[in-house]
Amino acid sequence: MNTAMHIMSIQHQLVLAIGKDSDLKKMLHQFLRLCCLSLNSTNCHVFLVQDKNKNPVHQKSKDSSVKLGHYLSFPMKKHGLLASHNQPLANIVNAFFTDNLVIDVIEYESSLYHLFKIGDFGVLAIERKQQLGEAIRNALTPVLKKLATSSIASINHRSLVLEIKTRKQIEEKISYQASHDFLTGLFNRMEMQQRIAKAIDNCAQQANTGAILLINLDKFKNINDVMGYHVGDKVLRQVANRLRNTVRNLATVARFDGHEFIVLLKGLPVNPLEIKSIINGVIADIVFAIEIPLELSEGRFSVSCFIGYEVFNDTNKSVQDVLKNASIAMYEAFKKGKNKALAYNSNMSVQLNEHITYTQEIKQALKNNNFELHYQPQYDHLKNIVGAEALLRWNNPLRGYESPGIYIPIAEESDLIIQIGSYVLKQACADIKKLEQLDLPDSFKQISINISAKQLAKHNFVQTIISAVEESQISPSRLKIEITESMMMGDIELSIESLEKLHRFGVECAIDDFGTGYSSLAYLKRLPATLLKIDRYFVTDIHKDKSNTAIAGMIIELAKSLNMTVIAEGVEKKEELDCLVQLGCYHYQGYYFSHPIVFDKLQMAIKLKANKIAM
């Protein structure tokens, strides 16, 4: 046998395996496998210097006590024991590495370990039953050099790949974050807008139709307010999942804003009837999915939704047009009640524009002092004026007096109601100041003003009232505030606290429209209110309607038991008055006594009464 050629052949086989793969583990596996075959070894192992994450490193360590870790073996086991668990082998290898030898042969438990240094960062251990001859050992030296060089290249390559991979992951993460909502994992508004833009373009090119559904969760704010934002977030996540599962493969879902979601449907047919049928199907599925109560660790929650949608099939509408129209339709659906869905139509825009114009006019009216306070006097059974309710009137330069029923709900949708409330408070205080300068009869107690829910909910509500009273230098007892039952239900504890503060300051409180709300009688007892106003609904024709008589009677009894005064609103007929007297109600307000009048007339009426009493 030609030994020299044989050795050369082995050298070449081994060298050929080196650098075949840029992945260090794969390359070394191939090398070790060939080592085993060509060198007739039982097991071959590589030990390398490794970092704390067990990644191989090739830098020469300054620390002489550095330990090599097991990196790879072929085969992986010997007599069933994993080479990586073979501590005696690790000790032999590390002793060799520390001694700074290049080649050594060590006998251990009937095996001969042929140890070769790989650069200054590793060791190759070849396990054989017979010793390798000197010639073959020497022939392996250049192979080991090549192995070291290739290993360094692989380690560097791996670092580079890792760096690129990490960078790619970061880029993907940034890209994901830029296009997804962090809370729900759905697409975010920006991404959805881009997708809508594409869908609009595609519609034009492919002659089909698209639609967006804007979905708002009804009364979601209550969950946040009552249970906290962490529960609200859970609800949003579950709703997002349900939406995703409901429209899976059919549409794209995004979280648009807060508790608003948007669904994009693409590739719809052109026929309007078919479109409507498809969209109605999707809406029904969505409403069904959202309505199923949500089971959270904090409890069971039910949410409903209202939906507005807009269809597009050409590029005449921009993304913003489509979104705006869906939003208008959603607002209209909201007005219709829960689980309603409406398609956008141009009348909605007309109405909305009118609404916006009207809002602008209210603003202008506030600026131009077009609002006035009229007062409806309140009487006792002896026809003494006991007080008056301030009522806001808008003298529109173009249309004359507007009905409060129109502009108050519109003002309540925005912060205009706060500005109007502020005007009412200041004007009422100024008028009270003027009244205090008159010789008021003892029977006249106070002027009452209506407070809106938004005013009551404001953190500085109490201070605003106190400041107005103090700045006007009036007696707090001359001002009464009227609130409705339902207003307080938003945050009953805060309402009670505010009203108690005002009570301590001297400003009394009346419960307006009593009997129409949903007050808890338990809360009513805790309210520092001194007056109950029976709603006109129960007063009208009270003498004819037995059930109204019964309800009014109960309210009067309730007021007595709570030590509150009771006043009937909307008294228009003598018969109604007589009936109320019989029931024990001695304070009244209504056309039977007086229509709302301007302040000057109120002054005159009070003066007149005072003079009559003096005479």
Partner: protein, 371 residues
């Protein structure tokens, strides 16, 4: 030591006879069944599958060109080995996977035999990836395991299912039968160096494209011609290839035989891989040398300790080489074991762990095991 296996033999190709033999070993209390049958039996696929699926015991084995029973070979018939120890059988069907996937596949699939150290491996000889599987299996199981086995199948290249499983007769798989008892083995071949070495300058798996930078076939023909007094005829390869295989020599002098089975006039295709850059030799042998080698194999096994079941995988190409004298070889192997029945198969490629420990696919060799 495991108790003796229950062995039933029939020289009939009948499926009924096979069925009777299986029932018999089950009744005798076997815990597993190893079947060795002949390709010439030509069992009806539907019937045999029904029988295999209905078998209540773990079942394994293969269909071979010939079977061996008590020092004789048979071209038809069946041997049913009722194993008294319960084997754990794993059928590796997805052996054509890429290396990383195959590694993962073997890790996952081998969980229940991971703690075993003794295996019989039967592979579908027509599956070209068998050797790669064996390498990966060895990598996973490690050194120190003992293995015997061989390739099942037909020499006429028919792509029929040849491996017995409890799911029926299947093709293209490698079957590993883990035994909960020690297996002793002994291997040999009797081939010697004739000419060489030659550097394998181009090869891929089984295909050897060039030696010393020349087409393998040309070199092969040159060597044979230099040793022949008459000009070689066109179909010399069919005559000479069985007498002159290639051999790869290990550092310790062991010859790994690679049997050239066909050529296209340029390359040689061998049974088993021939790595590029390896050194190969042309080998030669004689009936006497081969029988002597087989005697040595038997003696070697005898010295390893007591035995109950003797299982032989002898290469079918030895049969071609020796002709009628093959029975002399088989008798020579049976001879040292007068009280133990020699059973086995003529295989297409043999499988065993070499003295250094690695499991290899062998050619033109004798693998004798006992358990």
């Amino acid at each position: 030591m495991s108790p003796a296996s229950i062995i039933k033999f029939t020289n009939s190709p009948s499926l009924d006879e096979l069925s009777k033999a299986i029932k018999s070993v089950i009744e005798d209390g076997a815990n597993g069944i190893l079947l060795l049958t002949c390709i010439n039996n030509a069992y009806d696929a539907k019937k045999i599958n029904g029988m295999l699926v209905a078998c209540s015991l773990p079942l394994c084995g293969g269909i071979f060109p010939k079977i061996i029973y008590q020092g004789k070979n048979y071209t038809q018939g069946a041997i049913v080995i009722g194993l008294m120890i319960e084997p754990e059988i794993v059928n590796y069907s997805m052996i054509n996977k890429s290396d990383p996937d195959l590694k993962h596949y073997i890790h996952t699939k081998s969980e229940k035999i991971e703690s075993y150290q003794d295996f019989i491996i039967i592979s579908d000889a027509l599956c070209s990836k068998s050797e790669n599987f064996i390498d990966h299996f060895y990598d996973f199981m490690g050194s120190g395991v003992t293995t015997i086995g061989g390739g099942a199948g037909s020499l006429d290249d028919a792509n029929n299912p040849v491996i017995f499983t409890n799911q029926g007769l299947v093709r293209g798989i490698t079957q590993v039968i883990a035994l909960p008892c020690p297996i002793n083995n002994s291997i040999g071949h009797g081939w010697e160096l004739l000419d060489g070495p030659y550097l394998v300058t181009s090869s891929e798996g089984h295909f050897v494209y060039s030696l010393n930078y020349k087409p393998t076939f040309d070199i092969y023909k040159e060597i044979i011609q230099s040793r022949s007094s008459t000009p070689l005829c066109a179909d010399f390869f069919d005559t000479f290839a069985k007498n002159h295989p290639l051999g790869i020599i290990s550092l310790d002098g062991e010859i790994l035989v690679r049997d050239p089975i066909q050529t296209n006039g340029s390359y040689l295709e061998c049974v088993g891989n021939v790595p590029v850059n390896s050194m190969v030799y042309l080998l030669q042998s004689s009936q006497e040398k081969m029988i002597d080698a087989s005697k040595e194999v038997a003696q070697n096994l005898l010295q390893q300790g007591p035995l109950n079941t003797l299982l032989l995988f002898d290469c079918i190409s030895r049969d071609f080489f020796m002709g009628d004298s093959i029975n002399d070889e088989l008798e020579a192997i049976q001879h040292p074991f007068p009280n133990t029945c020699l059973v086995g198969a003529m295989a297409i490629g043999e499988i065993a762990n070499t003295p250094c420990g690695s499991i290899r696919l062998l050619n033109k060799s004798t693998v004798l095991g006992s358990f």
